[in-house]
């Protein structure tokens, strides 16, 4: 990782940051002492750089680790919708981490330069508070013009009339290419034959692995030849030590309390959780599903996965702390892993199973809300923000990952911030391994809330897999009955 630190340090020096600034940015990124030392060493003397820092974008953007002009292709789409004749303000509700919000402000600054009559007010809300805040805002008809939406609550909020359909606007844009979007990315935002949101990302579940743990055990890294049996064997082999120093072969096991479970843990064995996409039948206690779940539970009995106690006081994703050899995470886990890990790591595809090669695919989108006072201006913003140029600027060039547009992937694969194995992320999407057959109907939260506590008893060793899955079926079936109408 030293190469990244040197590059980052060079870039910061070029932009006139002092060693004190570098130290602060390093802390914000969660860099450890060793990384920080390298970063400061790479910065050289404490004298200020001759070249002045770039003009700050909307005040705090000077603290961004990204150059405001990096990733700016300049190929911004020209909307068929005319800019407002006088100043209007649009508000956009985000839920970014502090580092990425600076990138957001950079985008907004450049957008406002291109559209002097549109003032963009970015609202950033911590993830944990986002839903409460905007549910209350919806109740008070006070939603921002544009709002971030995750796949898991998209359908519920669409059907409640919280957003406006985008089809009329899209029809006006001659260069809006639906085929440019990865197939799974649009699924959660379609309803009633209309499109209600435009996704910015859609990423597959990837196998992140700790190269240092593999090296120490003399084990070859995961590659395309791996199947789930191999994953299991290696996970058991890499498990070692005790107490706080224990190394776990795998980071997690399937739980029916997880809406993303089926594609990775059941489909490879020819089993299902709910019938997708309608989610009107529960199939979790079929013989195939029971066999698959028992197969996975063997890893728990071997002690190869952390117990709930082990995971209680660690930040997500636990992989970043270096005690887990392999973990299944969406590509959105890359930024915290890149910032928090002090070891070498990379990404491989989730291995294939005996019946199928499958991994979950999920993402998020932006919607124009029903409370928008300036829908045209909101569309102009959205059209650029989620265009190829916008996705390249925001998610691809920054290495954040998995843009929903195919045309933005080359910039992601070429980003210095993307993991070395980023091509595996792209291939999982382009080769049809990633599937959006995840639980995303409005009944989803109630399904996982009902199933999760039952599965806790399996984890605690107080119930067999078969007993638990029968109970899950009994609890879930009445909930999804409303999808049969």
């Amino acid at each position: 990782m030293a190469r990244h630190e040197e590059e980052l340090a060079r870039e910061l020096r070029r932009r006139g940051y002092s060693r004190r600034d570098v130290l602060r940015i390093g802390l914000q990124l969660g860099l450890g002492a060793a990384s920080m030392g390298m970063l400061l060493a790479a910065c050289g003397s404490s004298e200020p750089a001759a070249e002045p820092a770039a003009e700050p974008a909307a005040e705090p953007a000077k603290e961004s680790i990204f150059d405001i002009n990096s990733g700016n292709s300049g190929n911004w789409p020209k909307s068929a919708v005319a800019d407002p004749g006088s100043k209007v303000e649009i508000s956009v509700g985000h839920t970014w981490d502090a580092v990425f919000f600076e990138r957001q402000l950079q985008f907004d600054k450049l957008f406002m330069e291109r559209h002097p009559n549109i003032v963009v007010k970015a609202e950033n809300t911590p993830w944990g508070e986002f839903r409460q805040k905007y549910t209350a805002a919806a109740a008070g008809n006070a939603l921002p013009d544009l709002l971030y939406t995750q796949f898991s609550w998209a359908q519920e909020t669409i059907r409640s009339g919280m957003y406006i359909a985008l089809d009329d606007y899209i029809a006006k844009e001659a260069d809006f290419n639906f085929d440019d979007f990865t197939k799974p990315s649009l699924v959660s935002y379609q309803y009633d034959g209309k499109l209600w949101g435009i996704p910015y990302d859609e990423g597959p579940g990837n196998l992140y692995y700790n190269k240092d743990i593999f090296d120490a055990a003399g084990e070859a890294y995961p590659d395309d030849t791996w199947d789930l049996e191999k994953l299991k064997q290696v996970a058991i082999k890499l498990t070692s030590g005790e107490g706080p120093n224990k190394i776990f072969g795998l980071g997690e096991l399937p739980s029916p309390g997880d809406s993303l479970m089926a594609p990775n843990y059941l489909f490879p064995f020819g089993a299902q959780y709910l019938s997708e996409p309608k989610e009107d039948q529960c199939l979790i206690n079929t013989p195939e599903a029971v066999t698959a779940m028992e197969w996975w539970e063997e890893l728990r009995t071997k002690g190869a996965v952390p117990s709930p106690a082990d995971l209680q006081n660690v930040a997500w994703p636990a992989f970043q702390f270096g005690k887990i050899a392999m973990t299944l995470q969406g590509s959105w886990a890359t930024p915290p892993i890149a910032a928090g890990s002090k070891f070498n790591w990379d990404i491989a595809k989730w291995p294939k199973g005996p019946k199928a090669h499958s991994t979950f695919s999920a993402g998020s989108a932006y919607m124009i809300t029903r409370d928008s006072k300036n829908v045209d201006a909101a569309w102009i913003y959205m059209n650029e923000y989620l265009s190829t140029a916008g996705q390249t600027y925001m998610w691809a060039s920054t290495g954040r990952g998995s843009p929903s547009r195919l045309s933005a992937w080359p910039a992601y694969l070429g980003s210095e911030f993307a993991p070395p194995g980023a091509k595996n992320v792209e291939e999982a999407m382009s080769k049809g391994i990633g599937t959006h057959d995840i639980i995303d109907q409005p009944t989803g939260p109630r399904v996982t809330q009902a199933a999760g506590p039952i599965w806790d008893l399996v984890v605690a060793g107080q119930k067999s897999v078969k007993e638990a899955l029968d109970e899950v079926f009994a609890a879930v079936d009445p909930i999804i009955a409303e999808n049969r109408g």
Binding site: P445, P453, A460
Partner: protein, 311 residues
Amino acid sequence: MAITTPTPPKTTRPKLGGMARKEELAFYLFISPWIIGFLLFDAGAIFASFAISFTNWSALSTPSFTGVENYTKLINDSLFYKAMGNSLYYGLGSVGLGTIVSFLLALLLNQDVKGMALFRTIFYLPSVVSGIAVAILWIMILHQDFGLINSFLAFFGIKGPGWLVQPEWAMPSLILMSLWSAGGAMVIYLAGLQSVPIHLYEAAEIDGADTFQKFWNVTVPMMSPVILYNLIVGFIASIQGFVLVYIMTNGGPANATLVYGLYIYRTAFINFQMGYASALAWVLLVVIIIITVIQFTVARYWVYYEGDVKQ
């Protein structure tokens, strides 16, 4: 000795003098910030939630009137009973244990010992620590493999349980953890103890009372109004508990710590069932009122107010 309580004569409110009127005005001025704040920020929401409880409303769309459907629905909702049971369990456990521990601490810290101010500060300190920090601290203390408690038990050859991860131990763990904030009640007890008149103890000594008899016949009766206050306030707060549970266990494992507040939160903000969540909240209010009335009713038999005359 049977003494009856004289019936107080019925009186009309006496006409206030100038000074009394000023005092009355000052009273209203002092409480006005709270009253104005309540009317502006709370009262509307409270009354609105009552109306919402008779609707099917996701908060995202227009509500539809459903009558008492939300209230009848909870009769068949197993999670309603689970959450209510968990909250009562937590309330009884944490308030019962907390009352004993904080009262005993107050008795200890009421002694005339050098450096007592420092001890009082130390015991009160945990009460001012941020809730999140407390939660993370206790997650580590209660860790199954290398937590402080299980390490201590292991010293004696005892294998400690998975405190927060085994369903049968999760709620006792939270109750144990609630003792962390016993300092708040302790300060109130301490203030009460310092106001018990010395002459009562002197009179008891003259009558030949030993230490325990003085405690039981003087300290406890004189402190009973304070104990009642802490029981009522503590129980109301406990039964509404949410934040620490949300952070530490999020209701798990197996819903063992799904307290009522967390269930309301999930129903409202995860499942978008605002009408049902409002009904749940109003049922909680009724339960709290019933329990408080019971506490006041029972208090007639064990709480002593100075000047009271009991049969």
